[in-house]
């Protein structure tokens, strides 16, 4: 009797576990697998950041490359991004390959490299379109997830589950640590505590690649009321600058771009 009772009581539990196991790969209802605390912090951040009309922020980005021999290398670049939603953006990027500027003036996205003195241009009526154009070209802009009108939205982000790991500090600022699991990537986000939740650190782990390389974006000196010079969003090519044809750009095996010679 006791055993039978135990089984009877256990049956719903087993059934529940079974449902969970079966449901795990089905991510259509992914939001349910995200811990409510994690969802709350993520949504607050998304709403606050997405609702900012103007902002600027400094960043350091790390791209990890895994060689065929299994050695992991990190390539760093840094700079500052200034955004005026919905359709203006200025970013500067300094790294081993030189200094580049990215300008979206409301109609046209320009990628300009100072030292080689050349630029690429695309039609882009807003920031989302600019991100989409670049993706079609074969690139994803670092931090693109955070520049969208709804940053890291459940409907577009790869997130089957998520958890609030705990609280910690970055440069003395208290932050929430969130961890999400997706089909292709796992990712972590550190969001400032309080009424103005902003991301300070974003790490994306690419599970499908041997060695699980990570992309890391660190953000600091957020300014949600920047004094923006409108000329910042206008690109005037130097007379000497060479305009490149976007259709001639291709991406090689390690992510560097090449131009097809004419």
């Amino acid at each position: 009797m006791k055993i039978g009772s135990h089984i009877t009581k256990s049956a719903p539990v087993v059934a529940l576990v079974g449902v969970c196991v079966i449901a795990q790969p089905l991510t259509a209802d992914a939001q349910n697998a995200v811990d409510p605390d994690a969802q709350s912090v993520l949504s607050s951040m998304s709403n606050y950041l997405g609702g900012l009309k103007d902002f600027s922020v400094e960043y350091v980005a790390v791209d990890e490359v895994v060689t065929a021999e299994g050695q992991k290398l990190q390539f760093l670049h840094s700079g500052e991004i200034t955004v005026q939603r919905p359709n203006k953006l200025f970013a500067i990027r300094k790294g081993a390959t030189g200094t580049a500027e990215i300008v979206l003036d409301g109609k046209t996205l320009t990628l300009f490299a100072e030292k080689p003195d050349a630029y690429l241009q695309f039609d882009a009526p807003n920031i989302s379109a600019a991100i989409g154009d670049l993706h079609k070209l074969g690139f994803d802009a670092p931090g693109a997830d955070l520049l969208e009108p709804k940053p890291l939205d459940n409907t577009t982000a790869d997130m089957a589950s998520g958890a609030h790991i705990g609280m910690t500090y970055i440069d003395g600022v208290e932050v929430h640590q969130l961890a999400f699991r997706g089909a292709d990537v796992d990712w972590q986000l550190w969001v400032t505590a309080g009424d103005n939740p902003l991301p300070l650190r974003f790490v994306i782990t690419t599970k499908a690649v041997s060695g699980a390389p990570q992309y890391t974006l660190q953000l600091r000196n957020w300014n949600t009321a920047p004094d923006i010079n409108a000329a910042r969003f206008t690109f005037a090519p130097p007379h000497s600058a060479h305009k490149l044809d976007p259709s001639s750009v291709s991406v090689n095996a390690i992510g560097d771009m090449t131009i097809k010679g004419k």
């Binding site: 060689t67 580049a100 670092p142 999400f180 997706g182 990537v185 690649v209 390690i254």
Partner: protein, 62 residues
């Protein structure tokens, strides 16, 4: 420096937007377009000629 090498330098400086999809990581070895541009990879002196892959920069499901 050939035109191709110059153009490669230009494009490397646009690394802000660089990402190759993992699925596209076909090892090219030391031949083909990679070798022709190796000299131009000044900014990445330690970049291997063949790579297993790089990290994605977005969690977005396209």
């Amino acid at each position: 420096m050939s035109r191709v090498l110059k153009l490669t330098l230009i494009v490397l400086a646009f690394g802000f937007f660089m990402e190759a999809k993992p699925i596209s990581y076909v090892l090219q070895g030391l031949q083909g377009s990679w070798m022709s541009t190796a000299e131009a990879l000044i900014g990445h002196p330690a970049t291997p000629a063949s790579a297993a892959g790089v990290a994605r920069r977005t969690v977005r499901r396209w």
